[in-house]
């Protein structure tokens, strides 16, 4: 951690005004998210221009749009792979992976639409965030695999390619919906966005939204 980044935390010499802020993400983690979001956005935009007839007619230039789509898709896992070099990122991946008993409580409440804070216990990440992270990671890899089959037409027989297209298309639609949900959640929670923008969140927010998190 660099000295100029620690102002958001209680300094060694004592409490300051900034002690109401809690560190949530390191610089490396924020960049992983930013670059992943950018590549995913490029993938979705170019996909729309390739697939939706009205947009395809508007944009044309198929060879260029295809190239952009292929490369943004191919590079999509790269920020996460590079992020593995960061200890904080690896620690957060561990947190996202492990589901405790409180996560079951959270998921059950979410299914019952019970939004009371007491029925939504969460550590640094709530069960919904964990589920999203694992699902989108798996979905991205499936898109990558099926996308490569469609890209390199000499790789497989036609029936594989037709099948890969089938999975690629329907999963793309699903990802679009889930991604819209992810962005919608972020839009409705400015403090969580601040967490990814600046790296720190208010202590009050952390205690309300992630009561089991011990930053």
């Amino acid at each position: 951690m660099r000295p100029h980044e620690t102002t958001a935390e209680p300094s060694k010499t004592g409490e300051r005004v900034s002690s109401s802020r809690v560190r949530r993400f390191t610089r490396a983690e924020r960049w992983v998210h930013r670059v992943t979001a950018l590549l995913m956005g490029l993938c979705v935009l170019t996909a729309a221009c390739l697939y939706v007839p009205q947009l395809a007619e508007l944009v044309g230039r198929r060879a260029l749009v295809v190239t952009l789509h292929e490369w943004s898709g191919l590079l999509l896992p790269l920020p996460v792979l590079l992020g593995l070099g960061s200890r904080a990122f690896r620690a957060d991946l561990g947190r996202l992976n492990r589901f405790g008993p409180h996560d079951r409580v959270w998921l059950r409440s979410a299914l019952r639409r019970d939004a009371r804070p007491a029925s939504r216990p969460a550590g640094k990440f709530n069960a919904g965030q964990k589920t999203y992270a694992a699902w989108i990671a798996g979905a991205t890899l499936v898109m990558l695999g099926t996308g490569l089959v469609m890209w390199f037409t000499h790789l497989t027989p036609l029936v594989w390619r037709t099948s890969a297209t089938f999975v690629h298309d329907w999963l793309a639609l699903t990802i679009g919906i889930v991604l819209a949900g992810h962005i919608g959640m972020a839009l409705s929670d400015p403090e969580s966005r601040r967490g990814l923008r600046t790296g720190a969140v208010s202590r009050e927010w952390a205690e309300r939204e992630h009561p089991l998190w011990r930053p």
């Binding site: 007839p53 944009v59 044309g60 230039r61 198929r62 550590g123 037409t153 036609l158 099948s163 297209t165």
Partner: protein, 251 residues
Amino acid sequence: MNSQQPTPSEPEREREPEEGGSPVGRRLLLGMLGLGALGVAAAPTLQRGLESFLGGAADKDPTGLTGLLPNGGGFRYYSVTSSVPHKNADDYRLTIDGLVDHPTTYTLSDLRALPQTRLVRDVQCVTGWRVPHTPFEGVRLSRLLDAAGVRSSAGAVRFKCFDGTYTESLTLSQARRADVLVALRMQDKDLSHSHGGPVRLYVAPMYFYKSAKWLSGITVTSDVRPGYWEDRGYDVDAWVGRSNGRDDEAT
């Protein structure tokens, strides 16, 4: 410096509940991969079912939204340029030149006056999408070639499009096949602009990139010159199922 280092003023920190727990995230991720593989394996069956279901639903759907769903029976619009001029019966021309005795220019009504052939086949894109049982109607290319009088030195046919960029080509024997049309109608309607209208090529036994849209010129040449996508890696002899990778059953 490290925030995990306990400071004397702070009380002993509780253990985070996340340090234990079962690796559900990993299982979910691997589950998605398994589901993806299963989806690819089951796709032929699923796709047939969906095609017939969505095809039926599309008939009763006034919004046209089902056409946007995968396998909703929709074509996909492909253009390699930013915009394509519109042509109609007044300004459309098809020229036939090169190694022929009588270079000819056809108007749309000239083409409509010639005998029409109707074919119903599956449209198959090289990347995998397809539109089953699609009727195409138009003039056999062989008829136009015979009328122009192909010289004995000729070996291939090259196609130009009025989008200004796209090109395609066939060997002369491929071009003379009975299932190669200069198409004026698709799905029993006049070809619309977005489907390559008013006139496109239709090469039934090959991948759909051979069926050049917005056809404006047919030039008889001595050798095959690769077309637009073929310069970008696709096969020139694009038999469905027997090229771009393999020898599966043809459609």
